[in-house]
Symmetry: C2
Subunit: 392 residues, 2 copies
């Protein structure tokens, strides 16, 4: 039986709410029109509230990687060094970007799934006075590991020459992260994760410490941040932006504001804990030591071919979950509970996993992960300040 429906459950792109799809379905506006400028400015204001920042916050028409490149190419000079945390595929991307733009990556190599120890970062900075920045993922999406970016900000704030560049592509909208308070000099996110919008937009905010580097010669044209700061202050962009996506992002951010960022973060936390409870009930092991709240990466027993596992779930059940990347290919699967995902979407993913494990004669009974996740969910919902207010 072919699956009737396909359900997108990957950690990016994530499902887009109908409200956002409908907003994007309006006729394309001229990007220099007063109407669009107004929407653009409104979207920027919402992003600043999301980041809890007063700083320049820019929208780039690119994937999140574009903003990562912009940070490296605009804020570092060839010959600079930077501490790069490599604990997964996206840490590797920082390293590759450094190499491309002549920045020496001082790599802290982590076993994939591990989180960085902030003390190790401090040591690297102390050891090497040429270090101009720390490049990190708040959540390393390939492993589901969370890095303590607040602690890193406390360290980098002490060095006038060191900026903290945090890829929060799967963190903003999952957590309530105050960019300014946490001393994140460069905060980055993308449209297609917890921001519930299709791919194609990146966001980057810059502290004064970061901006002071912009006057230098830089290897950037499309991603020239000086140009964007000047233009975006006037509700414009240097180049034609993805108008419809911005209209969609504005609507998605409105939804986040209606729910309340605190509630959004609480929801992600509750779903993440419910996911972990479900996985535990299956006697499977989480990959990350400190799991993040947007994605749950799970180790598969060695004799299971994880690529087949994930493709069977996709082809036979229509549930599109992610497998592992690079050397984790075939070894893990990843549940997503980021963005427009609720408890029933999570339970659906656990059911798919149960169907697949049972098929491989790995698993004695249906509903076990589901039951554990449901129990945890209700417990946490009742504990939470935003609990049900029923008759009882």
């Amino acid at each position: 039986m072919k699956p009737l429906k396909e359900r997108l459950m990957t950690p990016g792109p994530t499902p887009v709410p109908e409200r956002v799809l409908q907003a994007m379905a309006s006729h394309t506006m001229y990007h220099r029109s007063p109407k669009f400028k107004e929407i653009f400015a409104e979207t920027i204001e919402r992003l600043k509230r999301l980041f809890k920042t007063e700083r320049d916050t820019l929208i780039l028409t690119s994937s999140g990687t574009g903003a990562m490149e912009a940070a490296v190419s605009n804020l570092f000079s060839p010959g600079d060094s930077a501490v790069v945390i490599v604990g997964g595929k996206f840490g590797q991307r920082w390293k590759e970007l450094c190499e491309t733009f002549g920045v020496n990556p001082v790599v802290i190599e982590l076993e994939w799934g591990k989180s960085v120890n902030p003390e190790d970062v401090k040591k690297k900075i102390e050891e090497n006075r040429n270090i101009k920045g720390v490049l990190v993922q708040i959540c390393e999406t390939s492993t589901g590991a969370f890095n303590d970016v607040k602690a890193l900000g406390e360290i980098t704030a002490r060095y006038d020459n060191v900026i903290l560049v945090a890829d929060g592509i799967t963190a903003f909208g999952v957590y309530d992260i105050p960019v300014d308070d946490w001393n994140i000099d460069v905060a980055i996110t993308g449209s297609q994760k917890a921001l519930m919008t299709p791919p194609g937009l990146a966001v980057i905010s810059l502290s004064e410490k970061a901006k002071s580097r912009l006057s230098r010669k830089k290897w950037a044209y499309y991603f020239d941040l000086s140009k964007e700061i000047k233009n975006q202050a006037k509700g414009q962009t240097a180049y034609t932006p993805a108008v419809n996506l911005i209209v969609g992002l504005n609507e998605a951010l409105k939804m986040i504001e209606e729910e309340g960022l605190e509630n959004v973060a609480k929801r992600h936390e509750i779903l993440a804990k419910s996911a972990r409870a479900g996985i535990k009930a299956l006697e499977l092991e989480l990959l990350p030591e400190h799991p993040a709240n947007g994605v749950t990466a799970v180790k598969l027993p060695e004799h299971i071919d994880g690529q087949k596992f994930v493709s069977w779930i996709r082809d036979r059940l229509g549930i599109v979950i992610a497998g592992g990347q690079e050397h984790l290919k075939g070894k893990i699967f990843r549940l997503s509970h980021m963005g427009y995902i609720d408890i029933f979407d999570l339970l659906t993913q656990l059911e798919a996993v149960e169907f697949a494990l049972t098929r491989m004669e790995m698993y004695p009974a249906y509903g076990k992960a589901v039951a554990a996740a449901m129990e945890t969910y209700i417990e946490l919902v009742h504990q939470s300040p935003i609990k049900y207010r029923g008759e009882r």
Copy 2:
């Protein structure tokens, strides 16, 4: 915590696939244009394949009740009698339509949830030579009971003066029903159930035996079937039809053809059996004696207020399931597995029921209904000729 999403799980309207929504979102066509006539004719051909009929099959711009009225007002004369099976809200509607158009309803009153015994129908026809038809629901949506319309067709076929009028609004697209072979003189359905299209269209097919009555004086204008037969033969309608809905219905019927009607029916059967297994695991009782495959009506224990039960599930969990109607209000809930619904949608409904029962301290453990439904589902999928063809 307010629900993040709302999921439509009622036995009509049912969820509409994106393909259908997108087809409907095209610009409205002029209903006398060659392009629309072509689509209209194509849709009629698809409906005939769905009904397995060679007979005149008409689209009416109305809810299903419009087609029910058309059958009574066009095919019966004041003073005629008709056997009316009343085992729920839609049987009552037949009776009310008869009364409106001066037809004497010879009612077979069933306890709600029971199915008609065909022998009782035969007896009524034998007793009263003025009986000109039998009005029945193939599935009585308010109770989830299935009536053996094939057996009824075998009976009515023997009487030249008696036509079988079957409301298949929640049956076509759920079952594979050969209208001509089963001697259903008047087959009726609606767009918003298993046909996966929004409400607004009704379908009616007419046997020669039924059509022979059309020359009589009838109390019908908007629903004048003679006029529609004449128009629709030319790819037109007597009045402006719901153009966009017809475009959507055409797309939905295309989807059914791609899946194959036999597979569609098998899917509904498997989901229905899985639903019943889930309910049994909760130690709850089904309302109908002979449950239909599109909707599962479940009795609630007496001390539970079913209206609150259903509204709690809707308001707190965002799962919109149906309760009972008329005197069953507050006493039952109804799961829907009709149309664009798959196993995960069904499991979501069972999870919602488990959350609600647990909240009422009725239920000892999460995942019980889910597990039973999953087990039944996989068992039946493997038994079925359309089973998974995996590596194993």
